[in-house]
């Protein structure tokens, strides 16, 4: 699997982020991307940012995930990725 990066603006600074995963959902008609700048939160955990994007336009414009069910789906996907990574 290739490694990709995106650059975002965070607190006025350019921050390079590693793309961690992507997936689609036919229910929402959107695709999702998870990425990280490897920053560590106050609780000592690494931050994973997730955003939605238009599957046709690609990463052109990221959208926030505001729906709880969508967020739950993202968490499920992450859990699934985690599980598969451990099993592989």
């Amino acid at each position: 699997m290739e490694e990709e990066k995106i650059v975002i603006s965070k607190n006025g600074k350019e921050v390079e982020c590693d793309v961690l995963f992507t997936f689609d959902s036919e229910d929402t008609g959107k695709a999702y991307i998870g990425y990280t700048d490897h920053s560590i939160a106050a609780n000592g955990r690494k931050n994973i940012y997730v955003s939605a994007f238009d599957p046709i336009l690609g990463y052109g414009q990221l959208e926030d995930i505001t729906d709880e069910a969508e967020l739950a789906m993202v968490k499920d996907v992450l859990a699934e990725i985690d599980r598969q990574s451990r099993e592989s």
Binding site: E3, D18, G44, K46, G60, D64, I81
Partner: protein
């Protein structure tokens, strides 16, 4: 004078120059090799090579020296900077000021990690510096050190200057002025004293020197005191901080235990083992995590203690040195250096050798004393020599001391010693010392006062509190003994069964022992035998009683918990749902605005993470097995009784060892024996021996019962199916019904095994039927009913249904990037999920999608779901009834089947229930008909009976007929009422459906509620009338008064009907009256609701438009779209224009297409004519002019002329209708397509017929090549619907063009900008709309907008009655 560093640099340059010279020499020598004698050449060559080698070594050495110097210099500089870590200071300040335990814990963790990291870095730097310093010469090392000291001094001076300037600026202060005066005076005194000293003689000078030495010693002593004090202070602080961290960790441990205990008490037992495992895993993880912190804090405390101990050693050593140095009259510094150097074994060895004392040995007491004595002697000797040689024994004389590590007497009589400043090396300044003098620190008076001569650790190590189980100084260990056990209901049930079964065994053993004793007594056996058997009985009784106690206590526990509503009670679902709920909300630990962590939503118990394996992994990165393994390693194996599902009953008592959980169930327990469930006799507690004899049967009976749930509500009994109308007034001749008379199944017998009675269908009205003798059948062997689990097993067997199959949102096409995968695989990963909209600066264009990915369910899942549907459709009525009655409420939660199974089951059950309702409605309709027909007949009979002149025979005949008609009506009406209730219950779907209906009607928030809710005030009169009628009807039914029952029933129905007014409204047609008469049970129907219809239409069109626009986007040039990202609205406008244009283009071609269709139709007729012509010729063997040809040709012409005319006429009719505005262009096109279809079908038929003629003709006339004609005709025959499909496609495309052409961006923007979930709902709604539309169409237009055959009947009756009343009124008025 050049510095050592510069000297080294100069030496390197000289080395290089020399090397270059030597190499030049070598080249010169080689150039004259031929002319040089061989021996000379070889000797000179070897010499030059030797010199080159030597010079290269020197160069390498000097370069290494320089490199070490640079490395040491850089390392020291970095070390000095690194020691001051502002980040750590801030964290410490933060920790000191923070009160929140949670935040304190987090800060503490972070601080520990940073400190560790910092300490490692410092250690690495120190190692580097020390290594580099060791590689320097003494001079170079000292020079390096001095350079940093000079730098410090310069900084200090600069600082003092600044301070002095500040002080000068405050000269107005009188106190300051006085101080300055004193200072000036003091300086003067110093100068005078100095002058005095300079003037004294040699003796006095020596005395002054000694005084200076003593003063210097005191000074150094003070310096050491201060340094030690600082070190002690620092170590004490560290110890206090470490112990605080330790105490906090212990407090957190206690919090965890308390929380676990509370939750176990409040929430346990859990519904499933999975929940229990997750619960335990969660707390295991937390304990392990806390244990790591605990151990880290404990190590920290130990380190701090060791530090203090070491400091105390140094302090003692230093004190000893000071005392000894005083005795020699030298500074401590000098004395220490001399002593350490002398103490070296090689020094002593040299001395021993000189004196012939043999080898140095300290292994024996004598040897040690000798070594100490010699050492002291040498030290004294050295100091004496130093003093004799006039060398000052002060720190300022260090230039005379070299560092070769060995003390010896040099050629000049001087002494070379190795000097190590222990204090400075170990705990000294941040600059490593190599043979340099100590820094001089002058204490102030205040500092001197504060110096403590005997420093000791002020920290009293606190006794570490523990949770009760662990050993002192060990890990916290497992939970306290009083921690309540937490188990699942299934586990408790299983335990109770085991204990109960064990009790039965004890009972058997007791009986056997008693029997043996009785037998021995009867046989008058020996006393010892009887005594032995009596003891055996006593033992058996004791064991029985113990086991019984276990049962009792278990029962008490069980009953207590059940009374609290913890088992199987309504409301427990919520808690169980909470544990494994799928809905998450942000918790209080979330970073406001963006971070969410797993949290369970809803309910008072929210506030803790969901206990799923997934979350456990997320939180702890460790699964259950790993947790257990880790725990086993840390705390030893988990006791078996703690493991769910592993409770191995003790052979002795059937319990799980330490947990005497004992159920007691007065009505006996159940055991599995083979395929049967055996119910044991009730076990009674024994009161005394007599009671026991009375109550306990010697032989235990076993009663076979139906399999049933051990605890919980009684098993569901399916309602008896009624296939024929019942007459409760008719009794079954020949038998009772059930257990009352002994014929039916009695208590304890299997239901259904009794006599089965078949009753012939009863005629509802008319003369009573002649009763036929009953046919009594032999009891049939009943096949056991299939249980719910069996049905579920068969339904799901082999299907890979996934939990997400039925979820609202499904993910697919998951791609994981390499780095992330590896990170997760490492298993050491904790994360937060943050959702945000960042400002994108740079994008990976190669990841841009080129089209919408196929986001579909896996084909496998689809197949499984289809198979599941098929199986559901194939379920028998009995199975469906089992599911309908048993798979509800808690059962659904307990079994946790995939959502898709539940969804499909619901769909199937709806169908099943509606079938039931339809069946009952059919019966109700018949019964209504019977009632109203009877009423009509009675009225007619009464009318005739009222007339005069009736013969007695006729009157009798009429009266008999009336009695026959009215007979059985009370029963009929009673059945109508009960069956109506039954159907209504079916439809409402039980409690849930009922509450949903109520909610809809109450809140009016749903469409159903709006449609059917009433806005009328209560009409007391109407209620009273209804009440009176109901009471009368029920009384009549109870009395068996058929006529009264019928009249009241009809009157009641009329009342309801007359108060129902069906009118159209904005919510569709509904009753605006006070009642909504619905004699048959119907689903609330909103298909004709204009609001809903419009809504669906809008949604369907809009969602279709969205799909279209997305498709068009996908087809466009991708790069162009990306370039337009920043102008999305503009892009949308442009896209919309394209859509409109495309739609116009497509719709604009409608005329062309219609022309094409018409041409195609006409072409078909023409081609038909040609083919007929050809067939006629072929058939007549091209015999033009023959009679056969003429006949056939005429027939053919007539046929196709008619065909052509009719087709042409049809097209003209369509055109006329369109021209007259009767139909739209789209409709006209559709009609043309239909006509074209007919035409083409006709043509295809002709084609087939003619082909049959062509084929034999072609075979018999090979001279003509007819393959082209035949091939074309055969193609047409093989593809009869191609033209039809083409025509229909044209219709569809142009219709779509209409939509696209009229599409407005404004219509789409609101939808595209809607939140994803709402948009999804709307699009899903479109699918529902389409489904509803299809259903509606397939059902055809409803005959009635309201009501049915029964309401019509009631209306008709009411109208008749009203007309008759009016007629009677008119008659009477006349």
């Amino acid at each position: 004078m050049a510095s050592y560093y510069e000297q080294v640099q100069e030496a390197i340059r000289a080395n290089e120059k020399e090397l270059a010279h030597l190499k030049e020499e070598l080249r010169g020598l080689r150039s004259v090799e031929k002319d040089t004698p061989r021996e000379n050449f070889q000797r000179q060559h070897a010499q030059i090579l030797y010199y080159i080698d030597q010079e290269q070594n020197r160069l390498a050495s000097n370069q290494a020296l320089l490199d070490n110097y640079h490395a040491a210099r850089d390392g020291i500089a970095e070390l000095r900077v690194s020691r001051d870590n502002e980040e750590l200071d801030k964290l410490r300040e933060l920790l000191a000021s923070e009160r929140d335990p949670q935040i304190r814990r987090e800060i503490s963790e972070e601080l520990e990690a940073k400190e560790r990291e910092h300490a490692e870095r410092i250690e690495a730097l120190e190692t580097t510096v020390q290594t580099s310093m060791a590689g320097l010469t003494d001079e170079l090392a000292e020079e390096l050190r001095q350079s940093f000291l000079s730098e410090d001094k310069a900084k200090e001076e600069a600082k003092e200057e600044v301070q002095a300037e500040v002080e000068e600026s405050t000269t107005e202060n009188p106190a300051s002025a006085d101080g300055e005066t004193e200072q000036v005076d003091g300086k003067k005194d110093d100068v005078a004293e100095q002058n005095t000293n300079n003037a004294v003689g040699p003796e006095e000078n020596q005395g002054a020197e000694e005084a200076q030495t003593e003063e210097r010693t005191e000074e150094i002593h003070d310096v050491h005191q201060i340094t030690m004090q600082q070190l002690f202070d620092r170590a004490n602080q560290e110890l206090e901080a470490a112990e605080l961290a330790l105490q906090e960790s212990i407090a957190r441990f206690q919090e965890i235990f308390n929380e676990e205990r509370t939750r176990q008490e409040n929430e346990g037992p859990f519904g499933t083992e999975e929940e229990l495992d997750n619960f335990r895993s969660e707390y295991m993880r937390r304990k392990i995590e806390e244990n790591e912190r605990f151990e880290a804090a404990r190590d920290r405390v130990a380190r701090a203690r060791r530090q203090l101990e070491r400091l105390e050693e140094i302090r003692d050593y230093t004190a000893s040195l000071e005392e000894e140095s005083r005795s020699y009259g030298v500074t401590t510094e000098v004395y220490e250096k001399i002593k350490k150097a002398v103490s070296k074994k090689e020094v002593l060895s040299a001395i021993y050798e000189q004196r012939g004392l043999g080898e140095v040995s300290r292994r024996t007491k004598a040897g040690k004393e000798q070594a100490d004595r010699i050492t002291e002697e040498i030290v004294a000797n050295i100091i004496e020599q130093l003093k004799t040689a006039g060398i000052q024994t002060s720190a300022a004389t260090q230039g005379n001391v070299t560092q070769n590590g060995v003390v010896n007497v040099n050629q000049n009589g001087g002494i070379n010693i190795n000097i190590i400043d222990t204090i400075n090396i170990i705990y000294g300044t941040d600059i490593p010392v190599k043979g340099g003098p100590s820094r001089t620190i002058t204490m102030t008076e205040e500092e001197k006062e504060n110096v403590q001569t005997t420093q000791k650790s002020r920290v009293k190590v606190k006794v570490v509190p523990h949770n009760g189980n662990e050993q002192e100084g060990k890990t916290p260990g497992k939970a306290p003994e009083d921690m309540p056990k937490v188990k699942t209901r299934g586990q408790i049930n299983a335990e109770m069964e085991r204990i109960s079964a064990k009790l039965a065994e004890k009972d058997e053993a007791l009986s056997a022992a008693r029997d043996a004793l009785s037998k021995a007594e009867e046989d008058k056996a020996e006393a010892s035998v009887i005594d032995s058997r009596r003891k055996a009985v006593e033992k058996a009784e004791r064991e029985y009683n113990e086991q019984l106690d276990r049962l009792r206590s278990k029962q008490e526990e069980y009953v207590a918990v059940t009374a609290d509503g913890k088992y199987d009670a309504v409301g427990t679902e919520k808690k169980m749902k909470l544990i494994n709920g799928e809905e998450y909300i942000a918790d209080e630990h979330s970073i406001p605005g963006d971070i969410t962590t797993l949290r369970v939503a809803g309910g008072k118990d929210a506030g803790r993470p969901a206990f799923t394996d997934a979350s456990a992994k997320k939180e702890g990165q460790i699964d259950k097995k790993s947790f257990e393994k880790l725990l086993n390693e840390k705390y030893g194996p988990v006791p078996k009784d703690d493991k769910p599902g592993n409770d191995t009953p003790s052979d002795e008592d059937g319990t799980t060892g330490d947990n005497p959980d004992t159920p007691s169930k007065e009505d006996g327990t159940y055991r599995l024996r083979g395929d049967q469930i055996i119910q044991d006799e009730p076990i009674r507690p024994k009161k005394d021996e007599d009671d026991k004899k009375k109550e306990e049967p010697k032989v235990k009976t076993q009663v076979h019962v139906e399999p049933q749930v051990l605890y919980g509500p009684p098993p569901f009994e399916p309602p008896k199916e009624v296939k024929i109308p019942e007459d409760p007034n008719k009794k079954n001749p020949g038998g009772g019904t059930g257990s009352g008379n002994g014929d039916g199944p009695g208590k304890g017998e299997e239901p259904g095994t009794g006599t089965k009675v078949h009753v012939e269908p009863q005629v509802l009205y008319g003369p009573p039927p002649v009763e036929k003798p009953q046919v009594i059948e032999e009891p049939e062997k009943k096949t056991p009913k299939r249980g719910l689990m069996t049905i579920m097993e068969e339904l799901t067997d082999g299907l890979g249904l996934k939990a997400k199959d039925g979820k609202r949102y499904k993910a697919s096409n998951i791609k994981v990037f390499k780095g992330f995968k590896e990170e997760l695989s490492s298993g050491n990963y904790l994360y937060n999920i943050v959702h945000l909209v960042p400002a994108i600066i740079k994008l990976p264009f190669n990841l841009v999608r080129k089209a919408v990915g196929k986001i579909m369910l896996r084909a496998e899942s689809k197949r499984d779901i289809a198979e599941l549907k098929k199986r559901l459709d194939g379920l028998s009525e009995e199975d469906l009834m089992t599911i309908y009655t048993e798979y509800r409420g808690n059962k659904v939660l307990q079994e946790r089947y995939p959502t898709i199974l539940n969804a499909l089951l619901e769909e199937r059950m709806q169908k099943f229930a509606l079938g039931k309702v339809t069946e009952i409605n059919g019966e109700l309709e018949q019964r209504y008909s019977a009632a109203f027909a009877a009423m009509h007949q009675i009225n007619a009979i009464d009318e005739e009976l009222a007339s005069e002149g009736l013969t007695p025979e006729r009157r009798k005949e009429l009266q008999d007929a009336r009695a026959a008609v009215i007979s059985g009506q009370a029963a009929n009406i009673a059945t109508i009422r009960s069956r109506y209730i039954e159907a209504n219950n079916w439809l409402s779907g039980g409690l849930h459906g009922f509450s949903e209906d109520m909610k809809a009607a109450t809140t009016k928030l749903s469409l159903v509620g709006k449609r059917f809710a009433k806005d009328h005030d209560l009409n007391p009169d109407l209620v009273k009338r209804q009440g009176a009628l109901e009471r009368a009807e029920m009384q009549a039914i109870a009395d068996g008064n058929d006529e009264m029952a019928l009249r009241v029933f009809v009157e009641n129905e009329r009342l309801l009907s007359e108060n129902t007014e069906i009118k159209g409204s904005v919510f569709g047609r509904r009753s605006t009256g006070e009642k909504y008469y619905s004699p048959l049970v119907e689903q609330l129907d909103y298909r004709d609701d204009p609001f809903v219809r419009d809504l669906f239409t809008t949604i369907a069109v809009s969602s279709a438009a969205i799909s279209t626009i997305q498709s068009i986007k996908a087809a466009r040039d991708q790069a162009a779209i990306i370039a337009e990202n920043n102008r999305r609205m503009a892009a949308n406008n442009q896209t919309m224009q394209q859509v409109n244009q495309m739609g116009q283009d497509i719709a604009g071609k409608r005329g062309t297409m219609m022309e094409g269709m018409e041409s195609q139709g006409m072409q078909d007729t023409l081609t038909s004519a040609n083919e007929i012509e050809r067939a006629v010729l072929d058939k007549t063997d091209w015999g033009l002019g023959t009679s056969a040809y003429r006949t056939a040709d005429n027939a053919g012409h007539a046929y196709y002329t008619t065909f052509f005319d009719s087709t042409k006429q049809a097209y003209e009719n369509i055109a006329q209708q369109y021209a007259a505005g009767q139909i739209s262009q789209a409709q006209a096109m559709q009609m043309m397509a239909d006509l074209g279809k007919q035409t083409h079908q006709t043509f295809s038929a002709i084609n087939t017929e003619c082909l049959n003629i062509l084929k034999p003709y072609a075979q018999t006339h090979p001279q003509f090549d007819l393959t082209g004609v035949q091939g074309a005709m055969e193609y047409l025959q093989a593809n009869p619907s191609a033209v039809e499909a083409m025509n229909q496609a044209m219709v569809d495309v142009t219709n779509a063009g209409d939509v696209l052409a009229s599409m407005q961006l404004q219509q789409l923007i609101p939808l595209t900008t809607l939140p994803a979930n709402i948009r999804t709902v709307i699009i899903n709604g479109a699918a529902t709309a389409a489904l509803a539309s299809n259903i509606n169409n397939s059902m055809g237009a409803k005959k009635h907008t309201y009501g049915n055959a029964v309401t019509d009947m009631v209306d008709e009756y009411s109208a008749t009655q009203a007309a008759q009343a009016e007629q009677r009124g008119n008659s009477s008025s006349k």
